[in-house]
């Protein structure tokens, strides 16, 4: 990696609430579970962990919030939390602050609204105010407009791996000196059509206790910089990515690309498998994903059994969730009490729960279509 990359601040909105304290409180309770309640206009609800009580009040001026759609609001509020902790004066020229974002579904609600007008009324009724929100880069762009950030503004589409892709690409931008600081983000909205598609693919759980994933909603933001500042939260030590040809809506047939991404990340960071003492599992509740992760870890970590925990099976799957895993890793590296246990498939293999603050965390993501991303974060 070209130079160090530090996590300077974090901000979050999840089904656990708005802000790091709400997330930390949930993480400290072993029994915490999200309330699942996505609405569809004409059908029973689907399993999505929705940010039910989310409001921009107290975070964004009403006139600003009004012009943003929900993903942009989620992201703006999470970003404001991160930015609020770096202090004044703002440490970087705003023209040198970038945004990277991963999203799986930002823009879908706006898209549905525009097409509703086209199909159910007339093409002339397409709402011009909503059309710009149909592009997936709208949340990241709105954030840059709101905060006057003129650095690179890049959104990545890599389905479930999009959020972690945004984190590692922020590292690349900093390493290449294309920005002085980057807000690396994941953002998704609870959107009925998106949830319905996953449900039809039999990806989501069909009953409260049955197998399958829940989808998520929220925004996770990591403020990265090549300078440590006074109190860095963590260091992005390295990353790796790999892929295998796979149908775009399916997970790969083996854990090989995930294993390769993990090994590249370890190599890039200069860490050995024995250094890893926390694994942020990508477990979403989907049995196939658990099998692929098991295969990949056997190949990449051998007999090493670091502490493991999952957040995606409780806060939901999506692009934002892989950025959220990186954010939770940062909290863990900082000593936040975490009571969430390892997922069942890893507990069975002897992966213990987190009992003491880790020094090195491994965060992974695997997307439909066969691409995998891994990152290594270390205590500063």
């Amino acid at each position: 990696m070209n130079g160090d990359v530090y996590v300077r601040a974090v901000g979050v909105v999840t089904a656990a609430g708005t802000g790091i304290p709400a997330l930390a409180s949930a993480l400290a309770r072993a029994d915490w579970q999200a309330t699942l309640s996505p609405e569809r206009p004409d059908a029973p609800p689907l399993p999505v962990a929705v940010c039910r009580d989310f409001s921009t009040q107290g975070h964004l001026p009403p006139m600003v919030a009004r012009r943003l759609d929900r993903p942009a609001r989620l992201l703006a509020v999470a970003a404001r939390e991160a930015l609020g902790t770096v202090g004044e004066p703002f440490p970087w020229p705003r023209d040198e602050v970038g945004v990277t974002a991963g999203t799986a579904n930002a823009g879908t609600e706006a898209l549905v609204e525009v097409l509703k007008a086209v199909f159910l009324a007339s093409p002339e009724e397409a709402p011009p105010m909503q059309f710009p929100s149909t592009v997936a880069n709208a949340p990241a762009s709105q954030l840059a407009i709101l905060e006057k950030f003129g650095g690179p503004n890049l959104t990545f589409a890599e389905k479930q791996a999009g959020g972690l892709r945004a984190v590692v690409e922020a590292g690349r931008l900093l390493g290449r000196r294309r920005a002085a600081a980057v807000l690396a983000c994941g953002v998704d909205e609870a959107q009925w059509l998106n949830a319905e598609a996953y449900h039809r693919l039999r990806f989501t759980r069909r009953s409260a206790s049955g197998p399958g994933a829940i989808l998520g909603e929220g925004a996770a933001v990591l403020l990265l910089s090549s300078s440590p500042g006074d109190a860095p939260l963590a260091r992005l030590a390295g990353w790796g990515a790999a892929a295998v040809p796979t149908a775009t809506h399916l997970y790969p047939s083996s854990g090989e690309p995930l294993a390769r991404a993990i090994m590249l990340a370890l190599e890039h960071s200069g860490a050995a498998t024995r250094d890893v003492d926390l694994l942020l599992s990508l477990h979403s509740g989907a049995p196939r994903l658990a099998r692929l992760e098991t295969e990949a870890l056997a190949s990449a970590l051998g007999q090493r059994r670091p502490a493991a925990m999952a957040v995606t099976d409780r806060l939901g799957e999506g692009a934002f969730s892989s950025a959220l895993r990186a954010l939770v890793a940062v909290l863990a590296l900082g000593g936040a009490p975490i009571a969430w246990p390892p997922p069942p498939h890893l507990a069975t293999l002897g992966f213990p729960g987190l009992s003491h603050p880790p020094r090195t965390a491994l965060v992974t993501a695997l997307a439909g279509g066969g691409s995998a991303v891994a990152a290594v974060l270390t205590a500063p």
């Binding site: 004409d42 199909f119 002339e124 709402p127 880069n137 959104t155 890599e158 040809p245 279509g369």
Partner: protein, 405 residues
Amino acid sequence: MAEVWITGIGLVTALGCDRETTWSRLLRGESGVAPLRLFDTTGYRTHLAAQVDDSCLTLPSVAAAALRHASRTSRLGIAAAAEALTDAGLPIQAGVKHPWGVVFGGGSAGLFEAEEFLRRRLRHGHRTRALNEFLEVPQDASTDRVAEAFSLAGPRVTVTTACSSSTVAVGLAAEMVAHGETEVALAGGADGLCRLTFAGFNSLRAVDAEPAKPFDRRRKGLNLGEGAAVLILESAERARARGARPYARVLGYGVTADAFHMTQPDASGAAWERTVRAALADAGVTPDQVDYINAHGTATEQNDPAEVAAYVRVFAEHLARIAVSSVKGALGHCLCGAGGIEAAITALAVARAMVPPTAGFAEPDPACPVDAVPGAGRPWPIRVALSSSFAFGGNSAALVLGKVA
């Protein structure tokens, strides 16, 4: 850091199913803008677009399994990738995984097909059948499809920054090759026409009911288009070793945000000036070395003068001797595929010392004081060329290509 060459180009546009047809018709000043046939435009304010002929989407050289349920956009991408790989002399062996990366700009992906599903879903409720039309909605679907079609197992990245997506993709891919993350990258993108973008741009009144006229004082907006471009990027060392012929070098790229407005440009050009300066700095070239600019040139009233204002700021007196052309008058605005298509055209211009014209341009606008290359292409030796893209949300990118010595 390795020098990066472009050793293969695949192009599918409204002017042709392949690179050479597109290039030759482009040089003749022809336009692919015509009445849209892809869907019924009754009720839309305008009716023109640069649509790719359906014959381009029949791909006999690609395994049928790789095309099953493939969207129009993915077929565009696969067709361009097939041509680029052949052009580069990189044969695809059946059953062999190739460790090459795919870095694409992602846009509408399978939205055209998904619109049909959504139309039925909105009218008939949640029991509506047929999910296959919905599978390629994710913006990275076409990237996945290209990787699957050619068994590409290298790193895969999909950038989605609206109209600058595939410009960033080419820049990022070049960076990955330069740093040894992948030995070969397929870079570019594909974007297909669909009702959403057609209705959306019409609602913004950004579309001209007549063929677009970039930089012309009569311009009234853009025409939408579709297409795909794939550029094969590899290190000069690797290319030399296997005797590959380069079109151009990727010297660098710049990417910034103007943090101004979701759809309106900063009229002063100051924001885009930063993008161009960042690109030139990354490439290590000075304004006086640039001989050609493949402009964003959408032909909207506000966009063109803001873009030229940026060039005036950066190139000053040198701008008078720089050819500046937009291919959007001929190929339409291909949105997330546009940057890749224009990077491919720019690479051809560098390699062949010919600049393409700006189709539709005839009457200069004092607000756009550039040599916009009217009529037909012209011989034009190029040391360094710039390809610019400016997008929704103020996400701007510029790519710098150079002649291989």
